[in-house]
Subunit: 137 residues, 2 copies
Amino acid sequence: MDDPASCETTDDYDVRQWDTREGCEVRQILDRVADKWSLLVIALLDCQSLRFSELRREIDGVSQRMLSVTLRHLERDGLVSRTVHPVVPPRVDYALTPLGRTLHETIKALVTWTEDHQREIAEARAAYDRGREMMDA
Amino acid sequence: MDDPASCETTDDYDVRQWDTREGCEVRQILDRVADKWSLLVIALLDCQSLRFSELRREIDGVSQRMLSVTLRHLERDGLVSRTVHPVVPPRVDYALTPLGRTLHETIKALVTWTEDHQREIAEARAAYDRGREMMDA
DNA sequence: CCGAATCCACGACGATACTG
DNA sequence: CAGTATCGTCGTGGATTCGG
């Protein structure tokens, strides 16, 4: 973390390429991960497969449409697998692919960071807001 | 990664709490990180401080307004520090705080994941799209 | 039960013009 | 140079409805 070497230009990625334009995939994946429901779906499917209606129940507030759209996107990116059982009534199971599992592992780090620092952030916000109130006076 | 133990309920975070409602900070941080310009700003400020105009030049396509808004948000969350030099013409330097640096470290993991797997994702998308075209026929 | 299609509201973003 | 203010546009996501 405090390693000064990490500040060298030896970084193996080019910051400029995080942009949307050109063949930059980072932005696309980030947008996918960060959209409103994907993260929840990935987390819920970790180590278990769930039906559409089960996901809908578990994820409080998601609309049928958005869950459907989200799952379609995740499926297209190879992060989630979709299995249709030819029965009546229809039954569809969703599960994480190996690729999806590796992504979840990576994301957990970010979630952990957030939890570890949310107090600091809350304090920073409070301090900032106090400063703004002084201005008004 | 393949550790089955990671699938146990020993997970130290509750997936349901990733939701926007209630006192969930994860969503807020994720939204902040994932917005259009924050990531770029954080990456550029890693290990160097930059002026407003320098950031504007480096980040292709950002509007003056959005850069301003982005910096204000990052500053409020304690991720970026703002230093005004009382000279004419005005000079303002932005730099990453220690907190911001730890976040950047965490995010790098996600960027690295994306780069490592973008080929797999591209192939999954191609396969998915091929399947859809079959449907139409 | 699963999910696609349509319509609409709202917030994010960009362009422009204006201050200290 | 470093912003703020105002306005118009556009995409995302919610509600609803219909089909397989």
